[in-house]
């Protein structure tokens, strides 16, 4: 199979792979298409959630109280830290400092990988105690939204893995690929922030 990194030439509209001009769109422009669209899709879920929350305020409040706020908060920190290191790593890659970039991405990956792990510690007790997606509308939204988000996290970790591989093995790492991966990961982080606020925090 074609090496993903090598095959990841800039898409439609972005013809220069290693553009060092400051005002170019970072990464693959089609990734931005994906990011914006993905945000819109989640946006519809957020709006839907808010609407039904308005209709069933009591139910949502009570159900919300059963969530594990601690793990939610820790996960938020994990993702934020991970994003920080992704940003630092991207900066290092842009400056040509491959070793630093690699190290920072490894750290980012480690923090990112903690997210699904902690999620399991959150979900499994909840499900064992009978709080399933079918319990009520709040929990359906909760599981569906955090579930879809988790799939995005998993994909993001895979992409980060490829970025790391590209940095490690390729003689001329493609900055646009690093930027594309970083863009995706930041989107995943932003989504989580909104999810956390909506599902866990908002009273």
């Amino acid at each position: 199979m074609t090496n993903v990194a090598e095959g990841f030439t800039p898409g439609v509209g972005n013809s220069r792979p290693d553009d060092s001009r400051r005002d170019h769109v970072p990464g693959d422009s089609s990734m931005w298409f994906f990011v914006i669209g993905d945000l819109l899709i989640f946006g519809v879920y957020f709006v839907g959630y808010m609407y039904f929350r308005g209709q069933n305020h009591e139910l949502f409040l009570q159900s919300q109280a059963r969530l594990n706020l601690d793990i939610g908060a820790i996960n938020t920190v994990m993702l934020l830290t991970s994003s920080l290191f992704v940003a630092l790593g991207t900066e290092a890659a842009r400056a040509g400092n491959r070793a630093a970039a690699l190290q920072r991405f490894w750290i980012a990956l480690a923090f990112g990988a903690a997210f699904p792990l902690l999620k399991m510690f959150e979900w499994i007790p909840e499900i064992s105690s009978g709080l399933t997606p079918g319990t009520n509308l709040f929990f359906m939204y909760y599981y569906v939204m955090t579930g879809m988000h988790l799939c995005h996290v998993a994909l993001g970790l895979v992409i980060m893995g490829f970025v790391i591989r590209n940095l490690k093995t390729s003689t001329t790492p493609k900055i646009s690929f690093v930027e594309t991966g970083a863009t995706y990961w930041h989107m995943v982080d932003v989504l989580w922030l909104v999810l956390f606020a909506l599902l866990y925090l908002m009273r």
Partner: protein
Amino acid sequence: MAEVPKASALPAEHATSWRKNRKLDQWIAFWSVPFFFNLFGLVFVPLSWMMPPRSPSSTTPNIVDFMHSHNLLIACVILTLAYGLAPVSNACYLMQVRRMSVSPAFRYSMMIGAITGAIVGMLFPMFCFGLGAFRPGYSSGVLTMLYDFGYLAFIGSLGCFCVMWMAFGLAIILDENSILPKWLGYYTIWQYVTELMAAPVWIVKSGPFAWNGLMTFWFAMTLYVSWQIIVYVCIYRAIKNQPEAELDNASPELRPKVVELRSGTSA
């Protein structure tokens, strides 16, 4: 290859008669698609009112009444005559994926998904609806089971399409020949996401996550239908823009390029 077709096969972009079109097989296949989709739409909506889906929490008399509707049988007949066109519409995807620089495994995955999907997501549920109308006298329990099975199979068939959209989306994104635009690849990833979004239909019987729900049906359908239209517009362009030199039946003067392109396929 055997002898060369003669001068009548000169590659002319503006063939005087559509019959002389070099890509006739692809065009015939392509134009069957809007025909099939429109027929499908007519059958499911105004003819039988299967779509938009009725509620899983309909009252039993309503379910029984609906399942006895004669139009369901007529819908079955039309579909059993026409559903062979679904494979053709899938083959149109496969043709473009075949031109991409990615491994054949992508199009084989899509093909297998298409095969499975045609039965579990189309023929089987259609018959569930027809069976109730075929023989009056079934108990309401049986009819409700058929009703459930029909809708769940239509709207809740997930995996076969997951593999199709994943393979298709990945193929487009990884493709170095830029057969289809990259943003379409990402859009196809959302097709995959609509399958994830539809999963809750197997759990709840009312509200936004039921099989007729706002999130699982209406929102998912908005994404799905718009993708379906867009992808075929892109495929139309791709067929149209395919250089004649690249065609399987290209005349030999142009043939050298053909070998190169196909050897770009990796294993």
